[in-house]
């Protein structure tokens, strides 16, 4: 879980909704995918319509027009905020207040692509989203929309066979989360790196093997939600 770009929206009930705006890389990749799909559909359409004479030509032109301007709008409004490319990249578009995107907002942000795409390769959009703390391109700013990471199914930390250890008292939720995240990330970290990171907590844990201690604590934490 990325914590540093997180954004919270306070709901009327006083709860903070966590949102993670998506950065350039993920959005760029989603765009490239969408672009390929879009080109594929256009080519397919022109092949199919070429068999139907000049009415086919008319259908091709109108179809091409609609796809060019409304491909993203259709998916954003009627397919839960996700174009196929965004879906693949696990992104979605929402209103700034965390609610599903509306037709007006989606149309606006997609029409303003014209400006975002200037002068070439979405340079304006790139500069705008780098300068914006929510990674918004101009279209997003005007339409008050955000591209965020879709919520993933919460995967419970896999328990390991290292045994249990009492959870230190007074940890905040974020601190607890970092214990679990560390345990998850260990699969991708070298042993040296694991030790290096875990040794930061050495004074607090008071254990000779802080890596093991953290994993044991994580075990106890993840057990909490299964134990009856």
């Amino acid at each position: 879980m990325i914590t540093d770009t997180r954004l919270t929206i306070e709901t009327p009930e006083g709860t903070d909704l966590p949102l993670t705006p998506a950065g350039l890389g993920a959005r760029g990749a989603a765009y490239v995918l969408d672009f390929l799909i879009y080109m594929g559909v256009l080519i397919g359409l022109s092949i199919v319509t070429s068999f139907f004479g000049s009415l086919g030509w008319a259908a091709n032109v109108i179809g091409g027009f609609l796809i060019f301007w409304f491909y993203p709008v259709y998916f954003e409004v009627w397919q839960k905020g996700q174009t196929p490319g965004k879906k693949y990249m696990k992104l979605l578009v929402i209103n700034e207040d965390g609610t599903p995107i509306t037709f007006a907002a989606s149309t606006l942000r997609n029409l303003l692509r014209v400006v975002d795409a200037l002068p070439a390769f979405y340079c304006v959009a790139i500069v705008s989203s780098i300068l914006s703390n929510k990674f918004q391109r101009l279209g997003d700013i005007a339409a008050q929309t955000l591209v965020v990471y879709a919520d993933e199914e919460i995967s419970l930390t896999q328990a390991n066979d290292l045994g249990y250890r009492p959870v230190p008292a007074g940890l905040t939720t974020d601190e607890q989360r970092s214990f679990l995240d560390f345990t998850d990330r260990c699969k991708k970290l070298s042993v040296d790196r694991q030790n290096e990171l875990a040794s930061i907590l050495q004074p607090m844990l008071g254990s000779n093997d802080p890596v093991k201690a953290i994993k044991q604590i994580a075990n106890t934490m993840s057990m909490g939600s299964k134990k009856k």
């Binding site: 009415l55 008319a58 101009l138």
Partner: protein, 330 residues
């Protein structure tokens, strides 16, 4: 209370809530339409309860797994509870009969400025071309001039026969994609400090002035003006409105007043996009007229001018009269 006890006690609440949320997510309807009244009341009650439980979990420092689970449930519930209503058919009709014309009148300063930019330079250039015919080549290259000449040459007209319907459909498709594309660009590029919109308006104005002036010089006035008079009503007005909407965007950034530039842009944009809906509808109508009426050669010129005048009257009556009184004082 230990976390285990807490979970045992309240688990059925969030399970019930999750069940309803899943049902709503699959249904794609808003919860008001999907649930019975009692169920909807229960849904909102459970939602507030989960929010409450979530803050208990945070303040008591229960495991982050539980906090994350509840917060994701809240996020999903929030989406269902606070989503905007989809536009109903009634609102759709009301938009075109009341809201759009009222909006044009409220933003009439932009509308008139855009209209001036769309007609002014063109009329001047039209007059200049009449006096100095070579001026047309400053806007159009000779190849294009030839193309326009042959398009409107009365001798090329197949007398007594309207175009066949397939050609009409082809032209309809072309007008839709070309004209609406131009108006969308004219609108969107206004975001750049109005420059884009002004450019599109003035450029199209000069182009029209040059073509009209040149065709008048070579004496093809009848074919040309009987062609454009009909659909021009909807098309030119719609292009002017798209330019007005674009300039409103750009101006909101240039002169934000007491607001921040971003806030000013957001407010202008939510109004401007409504103008674009209207532009879209007007251009679809214009494309129909252009493809199926304007191209009809069977009619006498006076009939086309008469219908053309009626269409202009309809457009202006619509924009300046429709919805009057329905929305209170303007």
């Amino acid at each position: 209370m230990k976390q285990g006890q807490f979970e045992a006690q309240y688990e059925k609440d969030w399970q019930a809530f999750e069940y309803t949320v899943e049902k709503l997510e699959d249904a794609n309807n808003s919860f008001v339409e999907e649930l019975k009244q009692s169920e909807a009341a229960e849904f909102t009650r459970l939602y507030r309860r989960i929010c409450h439980l979530h803050s208990l979990v945070l303040s008591r420092g229960y495991s982050s797994n539980l906090a994350d689970k509840l917060s994701s449930l809240i996020a999903r519930g929030h989406k269902q509870l606070y989503q905007r209503k989809h536009t109903s058919r009634y609102k759709f009709i009301r938009f075109f009969t009341v809201e759009f014309p009222v909006l044009i009148r409220r933003e009439s300063h932009w509308f008139w400025l855009a209209t001036l930019l769309l007609y002014g330079p063109g009329l001047l250039f039209f007059a200049a071309t009449l006096i100095q015919p070579e001026l047309v080549y400053t806007i159009l290259d000779p190849g294009n001039v030839d193309k326009f000449e042959s398009m409107y040459n009365p001798e090329n007209r197949i007398l007594g026969a309207a175009r066949d319907s397939e050609t009409n459909w082809r032209m309809f498709a072309f007008y839709i994609s070309n004209n609406i594309g131009v108006s969308f660009r004219c609108f969107a590029s206004g975001l750049m400090w109005c420059i884009g919109s002004i450019f599109f308006l003035v450029f199209n104005s000069l182009l029209f002035g040059a073509v009209a002036g040149h065709l008048t010089n070579v004496g093809y006035t009848e074919t040309f003006f009987t062609f454009v008079v009909g659909h021009g009503s909807f098309e030119l007005t719609a292009i002017a409105i798209s330019g007005a909407a674009g300039m409103k965007l750009g101006y909101s950034i240039l002169v934000p007043g007491n607001l921040t530039r971003i806030e000013s842009l957001k407010r202008a944009a939510s109004v401007a996009i409504k103008l674009v809906y209207g532009v879209f509808a007007m251009l679809v109508i214009a494309a129909f007229i252009e493809a199926f009426w304007s191209s009809n050669n069977l009619l006498e010129p006076w009939q086309k001018y008469l219908v053309g005048a009626a269409l202009w009257a309809i457009v202006f009556a619509y924009l300046f009269l429709s919805g009057r009184g329905a929305d209170g004082p303007e």
